[in-house]
Amino acid sequence: MWARVVALVIKEFLAVLRDAASRTVLIGPPLIQLMVFGYAASFDLNHIPYAVYNQDSGYAARQLLARFSGSPNFQQVATIRNDAQIAPLINDKDALLVLHIGQHFTRDLLTQKPARLQIIIDGRDSNTAALALNDVSGILLDFNQQWAAAHSQRGPPAQLVMRAWFNPNLRSRWFIVPGIVALLTLVVTLLVTGLSVAREREMGTFDQLLVTPMRPLEILIGKAVPGFVIGGLEGGFIALMAVLWFHVPFVGSVAALALGMFFFLLAAIGIGLMISSLAVTQQQGLLGVFLFLVPAIILSGFATPIANMPEAVQLLTYINPMRYFLIIVRGVFLEGSTIPMLWSQYAPLALIGLVSMSAAAWLFRHRMA
C-alpha cells in the first residue's frame, strides 16, 4: 500500500509544482501579501488630517492646538476662518475632522467655566471616526490634567487610570499579523487541495484513478500530503516572519503552535478535498473554495470580534476552523499559551478534520459526474 501512496504523492506534487506559473502562484503572492497586509491591515491611526478653526486669540487655545500639531497621530491640513469653509473640507475628504475653538475659550478657561472644544468629524468611516475621537479625548485629558495642576484647580472627583494587558501600546499590528499567519495558511492550503480532485474530474483522469487498485483512503492520503507539506512550510515561514520582521512578541511555546498548525491543516485540507470532490469542473471547485474561504475569514474574528456578531451567527463560527486557530496563534504569540491550555481549541479542529476527510473519501466513489 505504501509504495502506491508514495507514488501518488509524488504525482500530486508534480501536478502542482510542474507548471512554473502555478509554482509562482503558490510561493510569491502569499509573501507579497504578508508584507503588504502586515503593514496595511492596521486600525492604528496616524496622520489624521485635521483642520483648525480658531476664533480665540488667547494663549490657551494656542497651547491646546500645539498639542495636536505636536502629536504624530495628527496632521494639520488647513486653517479656516469661517463656518462656510467647514463643509467642503469634510465633504471632499480633505480633512477627517475640524477642531473649532470659540471666541471665549481662553476667557472661559481662566474664569473656571467649562471651555468648549467643538469637533466636527466625518462619520462616513465610523470606526476611524470613533478612534480619532478617542485620540482627541486622550490629548484633551492630558491638557486638562496639566491645566488643572498649573492653575491649582480642583481635579475631578475620580480619574480613570487605564492599562492594556498583553499589548500595552494597543498596537493593532500585534493582533493582525498573527491573524495573517492563519489567513494565508488557509488560503494556500485550500488552493492546493480545493482544485486537485476537480481538475482530475474535469480532465477525466479521476475515473482512471478510481479503477486502479487504490483504495479511497490511499487516494485521500496522496491528495492530502502535498497540501500538508506546502501549507505547513508556508505557515511556518510566515510565523517566522511575524517574529523576525514584524517584531510581534512570541511569548508562548513553539510546540503549542506547531500542534495547532497540524490540526488546522488537517481541518483545512479535509474541507478543501471535500469541496474538490463535490465539484465537477474547476470553476465549480473555485467557487466552492470561495464560498468557504470568505465566510471562514469574516466569521473568524480575524478583523472584527466574534462577540459583536448576532447570536445566531456566533453559533455558526463554531464550525469554522479559522476561529480556533486564531485563538491558538494569538494565544501563543501574545499571551504565552501552552499546549495544556489549548486543548479546547485543538479538539474541535481535530473533529472538523476527521469529519471532512471522511466525507471527502466517501465522495470520491459516490460522486460521479
Partner: protein
C-alpha cells in the same frame, strides 16, 4: 467589428452560462450570500462587553459610579469579589476588561482628592480595546457631569469636548461597512466571472477553433464581456437593493449616479478578470491569481475597513492600483454624504483610466496566434 458575428459570440457565451449554472451562481447567489454574511457578521460596534467589576469597599459613591456601567448597553458588568479573581477571569478570556474601585475610593472622593479608578483591558484585540476604553471614558464623563449637576457646581474639567459627527451620527459601523462591501463583492464577481472564461477556451482547445473562424480577437473579447457585464450589473442592483431595504443604509446621493459609477467599476473588474484569464491560459493559475489579486486587496487595501491614511507611504502608494479603493470612496460618499462631485469625479476618472489600461493590455496580449 461585425455585428452579426458579435451577436453569435454573445449568444454562445450566454448559452454556456446557462448550461453551467456556476456563473449565474456567482452573479446572483454570491452577492446575496456575501452581503448577508458581511452585513450580519462584520460589526465593529461592541455591545454587552463582559467587564469585571471589583469594589473593595462598597459605599454610596462606588454604587453611584458602577450604576453608570450597569445602565449602559455597551457593558455587561460582572461583579468579582477580589481583584485576583477578576485577573484570572481576564486571563481566561471570560471578561474583556476590569474596573477596580479600591478601598480608598470613597475616602479620596469625600476628601476632595481625585480618586484613581484602575481600568485594565485585554489588549490582544487592540481595536476592540481602544473602542472599549473610549466607551469607558464617555461613561466616566457622564458620571462627572452628573456629580457636578448634583453638587450644583460647574464641571471640574477645564476643556470639554463636544463632538458633532457628520453623515453617521450614531457611528453605526454597518452604515459604512455595507457600502464598502458592495465594492468587495463587485470586485469578486467581476473578476471571478471572467477570470476563467478565456483560460477555459485555451485549456479546452476551443480557442484554436475560434481562431480558425473569421472572428477577430476584439470580437472574441467583446463577446465575452457583454454577457458578464449584464450579469454583473444584475448582481450589483441586487446588492444595492439589499443594502437599502434589508440593512437600512440610507442612500443620500443619486441612484443613477451610483449606477453609472458602478457600471464603470464593473468594467474595471471585468477587465481585470479578462486580463488575468488572457495571460494565464490555464484555469488553475487564473483562478489563483484572481483570488489573490482581487479579493484580498479589495478587502484590506481599499479603505473598506482599514484606514488608508494610516498606512505607510509605500503601501498608500500601492492602494492607488487597487480599483476597489476608488469605488469604496464613491460608495461611502454616495450612500452617506450625497452627491459630492469632487469625490465622485476624481475617483471615476481613476476608474475610467484603469478600465482603459486593463482592456488595452488584454487586447494587446491576445493575438490570434498559437505559441
Amino acid at each position: 467589428m461585425n455585428r452579426q458575428r458579435l451577436r453569435g459570440l454573445v449568444r454562445k457565451e450566454f448559452l454556456q452560462i446557462l448550461r453551467d449554472p456556476s456563473a449565474i451562481a456567482i452573479a446572483f447567489v454570491l452577492p446575496v450570500f456575501l452581503l448577508l454574511l458581511f452585513g450580519y457578521g462584520v460589526s465593529l460596534d461592541a455591545h454587552h462587553v463582559p467587564l469585571a467589576v471589583v469594589v473593595d469597599q462598597p459605599t454610596a459613591q462606588t454604587s453611584n459610579f458602577i450604576g453608570g456601567l450597569q445602565q449602559s448597553d455597551f457593558f455587561d458588568p460582572r461583579h468579582y469579589p477580589t481583584i485576583g479573581a477578576a485577573r484570572t477571569a481576564l486571563m481566561q478570556r471570560q471578561v474583556t476588561g476590569i474596573v477596580w474601585l479600591r478601598g480608598d475610593f470613597s475616602r479620596d472622593m469625600l476628601a476632595g482628592k481625585t480618586a484613581p479608578v484602575a481600568v485594565w483591558v485585554d489588549g490582544v484585540d487592540a481595536n476592540n480595546a481602544n473602542i472599549l476604553l473610549g466607551y469607558l471614558q464617555g461613561m466616566w464623563q457622564n458620571w462627572l457631569q452628573l456629580q457636578a449637576d448634583q453638587a450644583g457646581q460647574p464641571l471640574a474639567i477645564p476643556v470639554v469636548a463636544e463632538s458633532r459627527i457628520w453623515f453617521n451620527p450614531a457611528l453605526r459601523s454597518r452604515d459604512f461597512l455595507v457600502p464598502g462591501l458592495i465594492a468587495v463583492i463587485m470586485t469578486l464577481i467581476g473578476a471571478l466571472l471572467t477570470a476563467l472564461v478565456v483560460a477555459r477556451e485555451w485549456e479546452r482547445g476551443t480557442m484554436e477553433a475560434l481562431m480558425a473562424s473569421p472572428v477577430t480577437m476584439g470580437e472574441i473579447l467583446l463577446g465575452k464581456l457583454v454577457p458578464y457585464f449584464v450579469l454583473g450589473m444584475g448582481g450589483m442592483l441586487l446588492s444595492v437593493a439589499m443594502a437599502v431595504w434589508l440593512f437600512a443604509v440610507p442612500l443620500v446621493g443619486s441612484f443613477w449616479l451610483l449606477l453609472a459609477c458602478s457600471a464603470l467599476f464593473l468594467l474595471v473588474a471585468l477587465g481585470m478578470g479578462l486580463l488575468i484569464s488572457t495571460l494565464a491560459k490555464n484555469q488553475f493559475v487564473a483562478a489563483q491569481v484572481a483570488v489573490i489579486v482581487t479579493f484580498l486587496p479589495a478587502f484590506i487595501l481599499s479603505g473598506f475597513i482599514f484606514d488608508i491614511h494610516s498606512m505607510p507611504a509605500v503601501v498608500q502608494f500601492l492602494t492607488h492600483i487597487v480599483a476597489a479603493r476608488y469605488y469604496v470612496a464613491i460608495l461611502q460618499t454616495l450612500f452617506l454624504a450625497g452627491n459630492v462631485w469632487p469625490v465622485v469625479l476624481t475617483n471615476s476618472a481613476a476608474l475610467a483610466l484603469m478600465a482603459l489600461i486593463f482592456f488595452g493590455i488584454a487586447r494587446r496580449k491576445s493575438r490570434k496566434r498559437l505559441d
